[in-house]
């Protein structure tokens, strides 16, 4: 990990920490971490995770990720992330699309880590959910098979 990125991470964390008490403004990861969403280093889960958090090293566990083994439809893949960790951010990645980051949630003071969302997957791939707790990243992954769905007209 290079120094600049490490600083960037520190800044990001600091910013997030500072923002939390003030409930008026939000952390927009799309502005602070544009490169993780789009750009040359957004294509693989590892790269995007590094852009977002400064590292792609995660500890597997403590995060529950529910997703179908076989998606009913690649355009609507239901994802459910939950965890009992007191994490500050939660992010969802997949490797079935050109870019891998899907969403970053900032967990508010009263928020629980229990998020559902529906995502698009162009092909079969792995979905990874990451919960950032302090400086540690906890993760869970699941393979979702996507096939062209439905018989008939």
């Amino acid at each position: 990990m290079n120094r600049r990125k490490f600083l960037g991470l520190g800044l990001g964390l600091g910013a997030a920490a500072m923002m939390l008490p003030s409930t008026l403004s939000a952390v927009n990861f799309r502005e602070t971490k544009t490169s993780a969403f789009e750009g040359p280093k957004s294509h693989t889960i590892d790269d995007a995770m590094t852009e977002l958090y400064g590292t792609s090293k995660t500890t597997v566990g403590k995060v529950k990720l529910k997703a179908p083994d076989i998606a009913e439809n690649g355009a609507v893949v239901p994802i459910h992330v939950s965890s009992k960790l007191a994490g500050k951010t939660v992010s969802v990645f997949q490797d079935a699309n050109p870019e891998s980051l899907v969403a970053v949630f900032t967990v508010p003071a009263n928020g629980l880590i229990d998020y559902k969302l529906r995502i698009k997957m162009a092909k079969t791939g792995t979905v990874t959910a990451v919960v950032q707790d302090g400086t540690t990243l906890f993760s869970a992954s699941k393979m979702v098979k996507v096939t062209a769905g439905g018989c008939g007209g």
Binding site: E72, V76, R118, C151, G153
Partner: protein, 306 residues
């Protein structure tokens, strides 16, 4: 041996003939019960009964994806009744189903169309169609009834497959579901019984270049797989229409909902045959038969499918 068979079947035939005289739905009722028994037996324990029902399915499929002890009422959910995988996605999508706004749109459509209100004063009618019109001596589908109503009041016909037609029907279906209506198909006359029989023959006859009948996939084949699709069972196949299909709604939500006729045309096309016209006698009688097979089940439309 053969003589025995002839004797016994002759007796059965005679018995059903006698019944036919009084109760025109006797044969249909017999078919319905036999089909329900078959389907329930099939999904009792797929793993244990694999030799009887699932000779070609893999171990993991039978073990991990086909539910045991599927109840009769559950069969209305189509393949989600037994497919564990499918059910997961289905339940997630049902939390905020994409058709909800279309139902509202259908309600507005109903409220703003005086002619439709006059033709259909009751909105909880989803389970009553298609019905056998005794004065016309033909099966009348809901789609046909709506279009006739429009034409009679000087309005233009609607597309029978998508657009306004299924959206209005979605409203009827939702109202019927809320009122806990059940599918209630009557066979009032001998002519109606004939229409039913023709529909049945259509369903069970192989057609198209693939030489499949509807039953190959949805009676004998129910629960099995075609590529990655779990095949749904005939019992309960009509209860949830109009249906919102994820596939149809891919580009535009309003296109996602379609009538039963739209679905059927797609299915017959997959058999490799030119489907009958939406309001043709063949199509309506086929639907009449299918709806009868779901008699007594809850109306649960509109619903969402793959």
């Amino acid at each position: 041996m053969l003589l025995n068979i002839v004797k016994s079947t002759a007796l059965v035939a005679l018995a059903s003939c006698v019944l036919n005289a009084g109760e025109f739905n006797a044969q249909a009722e017999k078919d319905r019960i036999a089909l329900a028994d078959y389907t329930v037996a099939k999904f009792k324990d797929a793993e244990k009964n694999r030799d009887r029902f699932f000779p070609y399915s893999t171990d993991s499929e039978l073990k991990n994806n086909i539910k045991k002890d599927v109840k009769f009422e559950e069969l209305a959910m189509g393949n989600y009744a037994f497919s564990i995988q499918g059910q997961f996605s289905y339940n997630e999508i049902k939390e905020m189903p994409p058709y909800e706004e279309l139902v509202e749109e259908g309600e507005e459509m109903y409220n703003s169309n005086k002619a439709i209100q006059a033709c259909f004063p009751k909105t909880t009618i989803a389970g009553d169609y298609p019905f056998f019109d005794q004065t016309r001596n033909e099966v009348v589908s809901l789609t046909q009834a709506i279009n006739e109503c429009l034409v009679n009041s000087g309005q233009k016909k609607w597309n029978e497959k998508k657009g306004k037609m299924p959206i209005l029907q979605a409203y009827f279906a939702a109202e019927s579901t809320d009122a806990e209506k059940k599918v209630n198909i009557q066979i009032p006359t001998a002519k109606a019984a004939e229409a039913y029989e023709r529909g049945k023959e259509y369903y069970y006859t192989q057609r198209g270049y693939l030489k499949l009948s509807c039953a190959t996939c949805h009676v004998q084949g129910a629960g099995k797989r075609v590529r990655n699709e779990s095949l749904s069972q005939l019992v309960g196949q009509t209860t949830h229409f109009p249906v919102y299909r994820l596939k149809w709604g891919k580009d535009k939500v309003a296109n996602g909902v379609g009538t039963l006729e739209r679905r059927m045309a797609g299915c017959i096309k997959d058999q490799g045959q030119v489907p009958p016209k939406t309001s043709s006698k063949e199509m309506k009688e086929l639907l009449y038969f299918m709806a009868y097979m779901s008699n007594g089940m809850n109306v649960d439309g509109p619903d969402v499918r793959k």
